[in-house]
């Protein structure tokens, strides 16, 4: 008991691995509401957090869960919640508050078949656009998509580090398949795990401006109880944090919130390429579909087909630069995602007429059949 990093070899589901990643990253606050297929995260959190002196609270709904996360972060916690489609919809209200008030927090969205109640126990990947702009208004956040339990562990740590670095909510865009497959998970020794903490005030309270950003566009963060007497509001606010409802202040603030991610995107982007060096056709994918695509690429290569894979690790911000570079020299991109076109439209937008862009749609309920993907690929080559 009392161990925060369970160094060793484990056989864990993606959901359980998420929990261990969170705790290893310093998460000591979890607020959530039960929903399939994310429940194993809440269940393990409720057992593990008390062991490390942390807080698990089961809220009355996802509106409250997300509000509690924002509150927790402003008391100095690294907070997390987990949910799925319908709950993710309810969280959008306070995800917007977190974006506006630059509050570091992590939301795991275990995607299931949707819309509405959809397929509670089966896979979907159709919350990509919702993860980006599910709340109202202009803002940018970060989304990261694991494809295995090991990545659920590793990427949840990354998610916390990104949230703390850029002061944004970070969405771990998991899915029912990744959540429920159990595989080997290696948890390294504590000293080998990189943990990033938010920037703290370098000035005393009388000189400190809580929303004045540095060159990286990220302000230092004072939290409640430290004597800074901060004021935090979801209203448009000036550098002092006070409401200022002028168009000038609004433009300055909202542009910074967006630019904070857009202008730093090259520091945030992360993707994996598999056999793209000489590829003529590149599959664009993320999450569980990565594993379908890797299988397809291997099979295709055996048949002499020059297929590669660009797998998005960070889905938002979208890796525009790399997509353009590849588009200049390949014949086509093929988007393999469990939805009817979400990253596909982003790829089209970025590629313009540089190469062709195809979508292999799948409304959800199961992953793509690698054999069918290969057969369809052969038809378009």
């Amino acid at each position: 008991m009392g161990k925060d990093v369970l160094t060793g070899i484990h056989f864990l589901s993606g959901n359980h691995a998420c929990v261990e990643g969170a705790i290893a990253a310093g998460c000591r606050f979890y607020a959530g509401y039960p929903i399939t297929p994310s429940n194993e995260i809440a269940e393990r959190m409720s057992a593990r957090l008390p062991q490390v002196g942390g807080i698990y609270i089961q809220m009355e709904d996802e509106l409250g869960s997300m509000a509690a996360l924002v509150g927790a972060s402003w008391a100095g916690a690294k907070p997390m919640t987990a949910t799925s489609g319908p709950g993710f919809s309810l969280m959008q209200e306070n995800l917007g508050l977190a974006a506006m008030t630059e509050t570091p927090c992590v939301v795991v969205n275990v995607q299931r078949g949707s819309p509405s109640t959809g397929l509670p126990t089966a896979v979907g990947q159709a919350d990509v656009m919702q993860a980006r702009w599910g709340s109202h208004g202009d803002y940018e956040i970060i989304a990261i998509a694991p494809s295995s339990p090991q990545e659920c562990f590793d990427f949840t740590i990354k998610a916390f580090n990104l949230a703390e670095t850029w002061r944004v909510p970070v969405v771990v865009l998991s899915d029912e398949c990744v959540a429920h497959v159990s595989e080997r998970v290696l948890i390294p020794p504590k000293e080998e795990i990189k943990v990033v903490n938010r920037k703290r005030p370098t000035l005393p309270p009388e000189k400190f401006l809580p929303f004045k950003a540095g060159k990286d566009l990220v302000p230092e963060m004072a939290v409640a109880g430290e004597g800074y007497r901060i004021h935090v509001t979801g209203l448009t606010h000036n550098e002092k944090g006070y409401p200022d409802l002028s168009a000038k202040t609004h433009n300055k603030l909202v542009r910074r919130l967006v630019d904070k991610i857009r202008k730093n995107a090259d520091k945030i982007w992360e993707y994996e390429e598999f056999m793209t060096e000489d590829a003529e056709v590149v599959l664009v994918t993320f999450g569980i579909s990565t594993r379908v695509c890797r299988t397809v690429v291997k099979w295709a290569r055996k048949e002499g087909l020059k297929i590669g894979m660009l797998r998005l690790i960070v889905v938002w911000p979208f890796p525009e630069k790399r997509i353009i570079e590849l588009a200049e020299r390949i014949k086509a991109f093929v988007c393999v995602e469990i939805n009817l076109g979400q990253t596909f439209f982003e790829v089209e937008r970025v590629v313009k007429d540089r190469c062709k862009v195809f979508l292999f749609p799948n409304a959800g309920g199961e992953v793509h059949d690698p054999e069918k993907v290969l057969a369809e690929l052969k038809q378009i080559i």
Binding site: G8, G53, T121, R229
Partner: protein, 491 residues
């Protein structure tokens, strides 16, 4: 000539004056009452550790006027927000200051659950009977028959009786005053400050501009007069008499004053003895007791035991421990044999009670596609499962069955079937529930998917504490039967 300091300057953000409140509004007066109360105890409590959380609306602006840590959150959510704040830093005194529409209508769910949990918060609820900020619409606290911009013919709904609601939900402290009762508000707040748990103070507040003028109380003075003449303050008032009606006096007083454990205390009392830690907080500032086990400085991964990739599908009825069987196999391969394994379960409506299956792939290489479409091996523990999954049995594959419970028919060409009376052996060992473990022993004897040491270690790790020896006995019985089949002693 110097500028005169605000009388509450120590607790008010003077740089935010003038405030937004209308002439005659009761919110500013209540803010002053709370500020006065806090000034009175500033030597006893650290004002740097007092935070105010508000929602949206006129009263929601309060968090922006206190010279304290202040949070102006979303509509209806201040109690949920404050819950996160308090639990992450329990040293804070967290005050929720917001309006009736915010706290009781859009935020009603958080209000009743905050009270039910006895969350350690003080909630000041300004009740001005309407949505003032948006122009005076009706809400869940608008008295019956009164007029608002959305009830111009009179409100035909019944409002909440907040003292009764909060008392019923379990709040430790419930009081009601009007904005004309300054000294009561102050005293009540100081009483609440000394307590733990959920403390709720309703302040019936003047809103002459939006509510009063539509209900013959056009000025602040009219409203204060109305409050003084139409209220009755009682000792131990009965919450059920607290419904606000325009033709009867408004009942004020302290409706509940109990000392039930607050959320933090209840949590500590439950958890401390179970996890050996006495402090819980979200900000990570709890010192963990020294780990007795020596911290692992390096991670040693055993060399993979070279095997050809094998795809196993396990099927049975709910309660036969099919999922556990798959987990043990996966653990044996991953944790102890240094191999890779991917374990998945088939979900579905029929998974409860009916036939269900789980699959494991074992490989010494990384597994790309974790799903099993054409199993090399099938393990079938019941006839119902056989019926459902017979279609998955591949030609030339291997099938393990419970001899007594599965009567296979129409098997594809070249299938090698191994049969063990797993349930019968389990019964002999002591309990039929270990039939899955007997099957595990049987498979172990007849295949080399995982090493014997690995599967035994994984088994011990996966079964409930105290049942390890019993399960190993079941395993040994299955293994022994398998050895006999291997030697041709049993067919």
């Amino acid at each position: 000539m110097g500028v005169k300091r605000h009388p509450m300057g120590e607790l008010i953000r003077e740089d935010r004056m003038p405030h937004i409140f209308c002439p005659g509004c009761g919110i500013g007066a209540t803010i002053s009452n709370i500020a006065e109360a806090l000034t009175e105890v500033k030597d006893e409590i650290d004002l740097n550790k007092v935070a105010v959380v508000s929602g949206i609306g006129c009263s929601g602006r309060a968090a922006g006027y206190f010279w304290l840590d202040g949070f102006h959150t979303t509509h209806g959510r201040p109690i949920a927000f404050a819950t996160g704040l308090k639990l992450s830093n329990p040293d804070l005194n967290v005050i929720v200051f917001s309006g009736d529409g915010d706290l009781t209508t859009i935020g009603g769910n958080h209000l009743i659950h905050g009270a039910r949990r006895n969350m350690d918060l003080i909630v000041i609820c300004i009740n001005n009977f309407n949505y003032g900020m948006t122009g005076g619409q009706m809400g869940a606290t608008t008295p019956s028959h009164t007029k608002t911009t959305t009830s111009i013919y009179g409100n035909y709904e019944t409002p909440f009786n907040l003292p009764a609601l909060l008392t019923a939900c379990g709040a430790n402290y419930v009081a009601r005053w009007t904005s004309a009762h300054s000294h009561y508000i102050k005293r009540s707040f100081l009483d609440a400050l000394k307590k733990e748990g959920f403390r709720f103070i309703e302040v019936i507040s003047a809103c002459p501009v939006n509510w009063g003028r539509r209900n013959k109380l056009r000025t602040g003075k009219d409203m204060v007069k109305f409050f003084l003449e139409h209220t009755v303050i009682k000792e131990n008032p009965d919450p059920k008499d607290a419904l606000i009606q325009m033709d009867t006096p408004i009942l004020c007083g302290v409706f509940a004053d109990r000392n039930a454990p607050g959320y933090m205390r209840a949590m500590r009392e439950c958890l401390s003895s179970k996890v050996g830690i006495s402090e819980f907080r979200g900000d990570g500032k709890v010192e963990l007791p020294e780990d007795k086990e020596k911290e692992k400085k390096t991670l040693e991964i055993p060399k993979p035991k070279q095997i050809k990739e094998v795809k196993i599908k396990l099927a049975g009825l709910g309660g036969q421990g099919i999922a556990l069987l798959g987990l043990i196999i996966g653990r044996a391969a991953c944790v102890f044999d240094g191999n890779e394994a991917a374990y998945t379960q088939e979900y579905g409506a029929e998974a409860r009670g009916g036939a269900s299956a789980s699959c494991v792939i074992i490989s010494s290489e990384k597994i790309d596609f974790p799903y099993v479409k054409k199993p090399d091996v099938m393990v079938i523990m019941a006839q119902g499962a056989f019926r459902k999954y017979r279609k998955d049995i591949q030609p030339n594959s291997v099938v393990f069955i419970d001899k007594d419970l599965v009567k296979p028919s129409n098997l594809p060409e070249g299938v090698k079937a191994y049969a063990v009376p797993a349930t019968r052996i389990a019964e002999q060992v002591g309990r039929t529930v270990v039939a899955n473990i007997v099957m595990l022993g049987f498979i172990s004897a007849l295949t080399d998917f995982f090493s014997l040491e690995a599967v035994k270690a994984a088994l011990k790790m996966s079964v409930p504490k105290g049942t390890e020896e019993f399960n190993l006995k079941a395993f040994a019985a299955g293994y022994e039967y398998g050895e006999k089949v291997k030697k041709g002693e049993i067919v």
